[in-house]
Subunit: 340 residues, 2 copies
């Protein structure tokens, strides 16, 4: 699902870099990791997934439907140093997604967030340094490292003053990759992912993806609540564009660098809601004032400047929201019982 379109747009020299290689995906049963796994299997890659399937996060074996027999799944925790040491041995690439997923939860679980989003990176980097110093690694960071947005489009030089512990620990992770590149020659890159959406996203609650949650509400003919006037800009990026960016960046990115990714168009929050309601053909919307607690996390308009990744890696964003959401809705209509 979704993989063919994605694969058709990858250049031959890029896919050749993965063919026959060994890849470890931590958190590989989650939204982004599992979509990447589907793509890698199609590229003839030997994929191992490490996932703890922690109940509150988004990982699910359902996400591997169709490739269950083509990947090795290890049920284990990124904080298990011995296991991580073993799993990185002999790999060519590591995609590191294991982490606490929601910025909202990070407020109530500071130490859990530090462990999963901070220490987890240090564990995997130390493992590479000891056992696979030539392997390349990619870290899924977040646009939430920026905090309150001062000017858009946002370049990687924008100040990093995160408004959540989640954002603080993602920033910490990025600094580790820069440090290990500089001091030990570990080829790590960070990708600052904005608002992702697409098939295999957790849609059980509103905390991880607002797009997924709104799609669910619309499919259930519910009313979508918009805080404020819905005019804030967001960068909603479709999973195929993300997976392509991960592949381009782990191969072509410069060691130690952090890269924005973003969609090919500018959209407001209200436009996103309208597109979902139109695509689903159901649902309604209403406007509410901002609750106090949300305003502290409100970053203001976010639009990524993607010129750095385009220059360094040759990746380009491709999928417009209307097309991405259509594909997403089709997936969940077909697989509703697996994700609700």
């Amino acid at each position: 699902m979704a993989t063919k379109q994605l694969l058709d747009h990858l250049p031959a020299e890029l896919t050749a870099a993965f063919k026959g290689k060994r890849v470890l995906i931590t958190g590989g049963l989650g939204f982004i990791g599992s979509n990447l796994a589907h793509a890698l299997v199609a590229l003839d890659v030997n994929v191992t997934i490490l996932d703890a399937l922690l109940e509150e996060y988004g990982g699910s074996n359902v996400n591997l439907r169709g490739i269950e027999d083509k990947v090795e799944v290890v049920n284990g925790n990124i904080l298990d140093e011995e296991l991580v040491n073993k799993l990185v041995t002999g790999v060519d690439f590591v995609f590191h997604f294991a982490g606490q997923v929601g910025y909202i939860d990070s407020k109530d679980k500071p130490f859990v967030d530090l462990d999963y989003n901070g220490r987890g990176n240090l564990i995997v980097l130390e493992a590479l340094r000891e056992h696979a110093p030539k392997a390349r690694i990619l870290f899924s960071s977040s646009r939430l490292v920026y905090g309150k947005i001062q000017t858009t489009p946002v370049t990687e030089e924008h100040p990093t003053e995160p408004l959540s512990l989640y954002g603080i620990h993602k920033l910490l992770g990025e600094k580790y990759y820069a440090y290990y590149a500089h001091n030990f020659g570990i080829h790590g890159v960070s990708v600052r992912i904005p608002n992702p959406y697409g098939p295999r996203q957790q849609v059980k609650h509103a905390k991880y993806s607002i797009v997924g949650w709104f799609m669910r509400l619309a499919m259930e003919k519910e009313t979508i609540q918009i805080f404020g006037d819905g005019s804030q800009e967001r960068d909603y990026i479709f999973i195929d564009d993300i997976v392509a960016a991960l592949l381009y960046t782990i191969v072509n990115g410069q060691a130690g660098e952090a890269y924005n990714i973003g969609s090919p168009e500018r959209m407001t929050f209200g436009d996103m809601v309208d597109a979902i309601i139109t695509t689903v053909g159901a649902g309604d919307k209403e406007y509410l004032p901002w609750p106090e607690d949300y305003e502290k996390n409100e970053t203001g308009d976010y639009v990524a400047d993607t010129s750095k990744i385009e220059l360094d890696t040759n990746w380009r964003p491709r999928v417009k929201f209307a097309d991405g959401i259509a594909e997403m809705v089709a997936y969940y209509k077909e697989n509703k019982e697996l994700y609700w």
Copy 2:
């Protein structure tokens, strides 16, 4: 020792803010913490010190000579959440110095550094949030949060790309104080300390303070080795100026902000060495090429722009190197047997 000169320069409204108050100093047996304790005792403050006296760090009961009976010392670890919760209850101010002290050691002990310089802050901030939300807290950060210096004098807006895990975790700490100020109203400030020197500094090895170590070499009539041509600028700040800055900033600083401190003059590394040899009246120097491992940590010239702290808190740097080093040498000549 040194305290009278310092106290004479503090304005009455500042000292009044501390009189009769309860203060917790974590890492209070170390260089900066113990000098602060001497000043606070003189200001009629009820001081509690938490210190683990970890062997490899700079803490020592010797540093409390003269005020042993006037402070409470708790031998315990900053990572002991229950103990920290208990100690913050009822305090008015917390000065947080407990940490792994050396950027060099952080390379070989990544997890220890994360625990002491990262998690330790989260523990003390969570303790304040639960048990002393009105208390003010100051965090001793470092100029090493900046990494490679791009322009001098360095303002707080300079990019923060630390070259060591120590610097990365100090930056992490700063982000926590900003977050807890913003989200929970905890009045925390960070002070970015450049190269500190003065009485009560550990001089057993070269890893913590180059000034202290060079002073020891000169006192032992040894040759001081200078890597490169000694022309790099550094901001050597005397302990009295640091202690004054801590007092001014915890009272007058803005919650969540990080502040540079720095000395009243610009100096090169070579000037510093010459001043030590002159003041001690012994020792010699020689020039050597940079070893490869040191160059990776070499930040280039560092001179702090201190206009932000001067504007917000009214603190001013006061002590020139010639005067500070004279006081330091006198102290160690008198107390050599306690520190060698």
